[in-house]
Each structure stands twice: as C-alpha cells, then as structure tokens.
C-alpha cells in the first residue's frame, strides 16, 4: 500500500487545481487521503511520480479526479428508506399536478432508477420528472446507459424486495449480452445532467431532493454552502433526504426543517 501524508495531499490538490481547474480544497481530507492512497497503490507509483505525471492535456489528472469523486451506490440502498418515503412523503405529493425530484450526486443512476420504480408503483411516475445530477461525467454516462452487471442486480433485487417492491426488479430491466439494461419506460422521466453541487447554482424548484451520502465528501465549510443550495432548491414543505450517517447538524439550515425520520434522515422544509 502506497501512503500519502496530509502535507503531500495539499500539494496534490494545488497541482490538480493548476492543471485542470478542479478544486478539491472544499473536500474532506481524510477521505481524499484514502482515495489518493488507493489510486497510487493501484497504479504502483508514489506521490512524486504522480505529481510529475499530472500535466496539461494529459489524461491522468481526469482519471484521478474521477477516482477521488466516485461514489459506490446500489439500487434501493437502505431499503427501509424507500418504505419510509412511501409512507411519510408520498401522501404530501398527491395534490401536486406535476412533481419534480432531484437526485443530487446521482453516481451511476442507482438512486434515480430506484426512485422512478417507487414512483411508478405508487402511480406518480407519469406526472413526475426526476433530475439526476453528478459532477463526474464518467459515472453520468454510465447512468445514461442504465446498464448494470447481473451480479449487482442480485443485490439490487434483494434490496427491492426488502423495500416492499410490488413485483420483481426484473420487471424493470431486460438482459442483453449478460448485462441488465434498465427499461426505457423507466428512463423517459429521468434527466441526467452534469451539475457540480459546490459550484453550480439553483436550476429548478423541487418537491423532493435526495442527496444521500454526498455531504460526506465536503468540509464543514463547503457543506454549509451546499446545504444552502439544497434549501434554495426546495419548495416549501418539500423533502430533503440525507444518508444514514449524515445529519443536518452544523448545516446552517437545521432550524428550517422538521424531522420526518431521524434515523433515515428525512427532513421537510417548513420555513
């Protein structure tokens, strides 16, 4: 395992910013340290070598950025979350003629597809639009394709059943060349788009934002800025969902929300 010290990480962050313009300075250091170390280990090089390889026009810096920003997700991750959304959130949504959902930090689309299935089974999908955004172009392209390995669909299927899905997950994909392809019907209400939570602004108003396990990337300071963006993007009485280990504590907007579920971190904007 190739290790990297915090001081070296700061140098790496500066170098990446110089070469690519991508700024990691608001990203949580312990996680970056681990990811940089894994990158070096996998490519069998030390920090000095990496710094030399990062040059204008080269692909390495983008490869590294992807590696340091990628998130591993599953469809119906935390099945009980989806059960809770059905029981606590959907009743509020019934009165809206059109519904806008935002999956902020959508990675390869797992959460967006899960939400689409949930909406479909509740009869909401036809009047819903799901915006799914990420800053990582590579995962976003994967999301647009909606292709998963068959082994990952096994996990997804288990999760789906635990989330009280009404049918079988295979109702929503077909198998081609030993891969699972999400059905076009599910995808037609999802818009995948590039968006950087740390730099880009409000682009619509939503009744529901899922931003699970994304805040863990950011420093305390940058987090507050991102929380403000999410707050500004929510309609009154709209819902904000965070990951299981995240909370609204230190967010700067904690007083504007009512807690719907403190374990699963579902909040409703009340002022």
């Amino acid at each position: 395992m190739v290790l990297i010290e915090y001081s070296e990480l700061e140098m790496l962050i500066s170098r990446i910013r110089e070469i690519s313009g991508f700024d990691f300075s608001g990203y949580a250091r312990p996680s970056l340290l681990r990811r940089a170390s894994r990158y070096l280990t996998r490519h069998d090089m030390n920090v000095e070598e990496l710094m030399q390889h990062i040059e204008p026009g080269g692909g390495i810096v983008y490869d590294l950025i992807q590696e340091m920003t990628v998130n591993y997700s599953e469809m119906f991750r935390d099945p009980e979350f989806f059960i809770k959304v059905k029981s606590e959130v959907f009743s509020y949504l019934e009165s809206y003629p059109t519904l806008r959902f935002w999956v902020a930090g959508c990675a390869s689309g797992e959460e967006a597809f899960s939400l689409a299935i949930l909406l479909k089974e509740a009869g909401f999908l036809e009047r819903s639009l799901i915006y799914a955004t990420d800053l990582n172009n590579r995962v976003l392209n994967a999301a647009r394709e909606g292709v998963f390995t068959l082994s990952s669909t096994r996990t997804f299927s288990e999760n789906y059943l635990l989330a009280s899905g009404k049918g079988s997950l295979s109702d929503y994909y077909h198998v081609a060349y030993s891969k699972a392809v999400i059905s076009p019907e599910l995808r037609k209400n999802i818009v995948f788009s590039l968006h950087d939570l740390t730099g880009d602004g409000v682009f619509n108003e939503f009744q529901f934002i899922s931003c699970r396990n994304v805040m863990i990337y950011f420093t305390l300071e940058l987090r507050q800025k991102v929380f403000k963006l999410l707050y500004d993007s929510l309609s009154m009485l709209g819902f904000l969902c965070l990951g299981k280990r995240e909370t609204l504590r230190y967010s700067g907007i904690e007083n504007n929300f009512k807690v719907i579920d403190s374990t699963l971190n579902i909040y409703q904007k009340i002022q």
């Binding site: 290790l3 996680s31 990628v70």
Partner: protein, 193 residues
C-alpha cells in the same frame, strides 16, 4: 487540515471479524471505570446488519457508547463503533469522517481504513488490537501503527476462532505483542488502565 491542539486525546483501536464478537463483549465488561482515551471498535458486519451495537452491549459497561455520525467530535471516555457499509475514518481535526469508496478485503467497514487513518491523523494511539477474523484486513494498518511507534497487540492465532486475521498481521510484522487466553483479562486491563 490543521491538527487540533489543546486537550490531550488518545485512541485505543480494536478490530476484529468472525469470532471477535464475544471478545469485544469481554473487553467492554472490563471497562469498570472512566477511560482516559477514545475507544474505537471496528467489527466487520454485513451491510444489512440492523443490530445497533451500543444497544446490544448496553449492559456491559457504563461508559457512553455510540455509532458516530459524520463529523462527530472524537471525545475521551467514550466508546465508538464503526457503522455497517461505510468506512470510518479518523481526521486530524479529531472528528469522524465516513467514506464510501471501495471495500477492502470485501469489507466495509474495513479495519485497515480506520487504522491507517488513525496512524495518519497525528492523534496518539495508546494501543491497537486485532482479533479473530478470516481475511487479511487490518494487517497493514497494524504494521503502520507499529512503525509509528504505537503499541500493537494481536490475538494468539492458535487461540482465535478464525486464525487468518491475526496470522496475516504477524506475517507482515512479527513483533506485535501476543494476547493469550490465560492472561487476557490482565493484559487488557494493563492496556486500558
């Protein structure tokens, strides 16, 4: 990120996998007085594990236990458990950080992730212990902690329910102290108090 000075904080790190649960329980029952450090347990668990360890272990000790949230401060005289399906990292600013990168040795939480982050954090590690388990997770972190001059202990592989984990740690670094069954309580008490 700057390290935080001020009140002294030190860590005791304990890692284990299959066959370690009962040992963790035993260690907790030895905590009969306040402890001068933060105690961090990393136990491999399935992602769907719903058991809340602080509740499960409630009757074992009076010291406050929790599964921390992201950015929670690390305090002395408290016990923390890594949460399923996330890596638990220790920051130089004395806060916990979660990470959702790949698994190490098919495990998330991984013991290496926590132990390595502790070694890099600059926070003194009073002791690190590794117990029974069936993968090589933890071996690298243990060696790193030993390299940095911290006390490291592994369960005697011959007495572990799954010998692989302590064996791999000893293979990578032969000088970890060995914890034997017949002197376990005394040895742990000496580490803790």
């Amino acid at each position: 990120m700057k390290a935080v000075n001020g009140d002294a904080l030190s860590l005791v790190l304990i890692g284990g996998s299959s066959g370690s649960f009962a040992i963790f329980e035993e260690i907790l029952t030895l905590l009969v007085r306040p402890i001068s450090f933060a105690l961090v347990f990393v136990l491999h668990r399935g992602k769907s594990s719903v058991s809340v360890l602080p509740e499960l272990f409630r009757n074992k000790t009076d010291i406050s236990m929790s599964e921390p949230h992201h950015l929670d401060r690390i305090d002395s005289n408290r016990i923390y458990f890594a949460y399923p399906d996330y890596h638990l990292l220790i920051g130089p600013d004395r806060r916990f950080y979660y990470d959702l990168s790949e698994k190490d040795f098919f495990s998330r939480p991984s013991i290496d992730a926590t132990f390595i982050s502790a070694a890099m954090s600059g926070i003194p590690v009073k002791a690190a212990c590794l117990f029974s388990g069936s993968s090589a997770d933890g071996a690298f972190g243990m060696k790193l902690l030993a390299d940095r001059g911290f006390a490291t202990y592994v369960q005697n592989p011959a007495e572990a329910e799954s010998a692989r984990m302590p064996s791999e740690a000893l293979k990578l670094w032969g000088k970890h102290s060995i914890l034997n069954r017949n002197t376990f309580s005394t040895a742990m008490q000496n580490i803790i108090y």
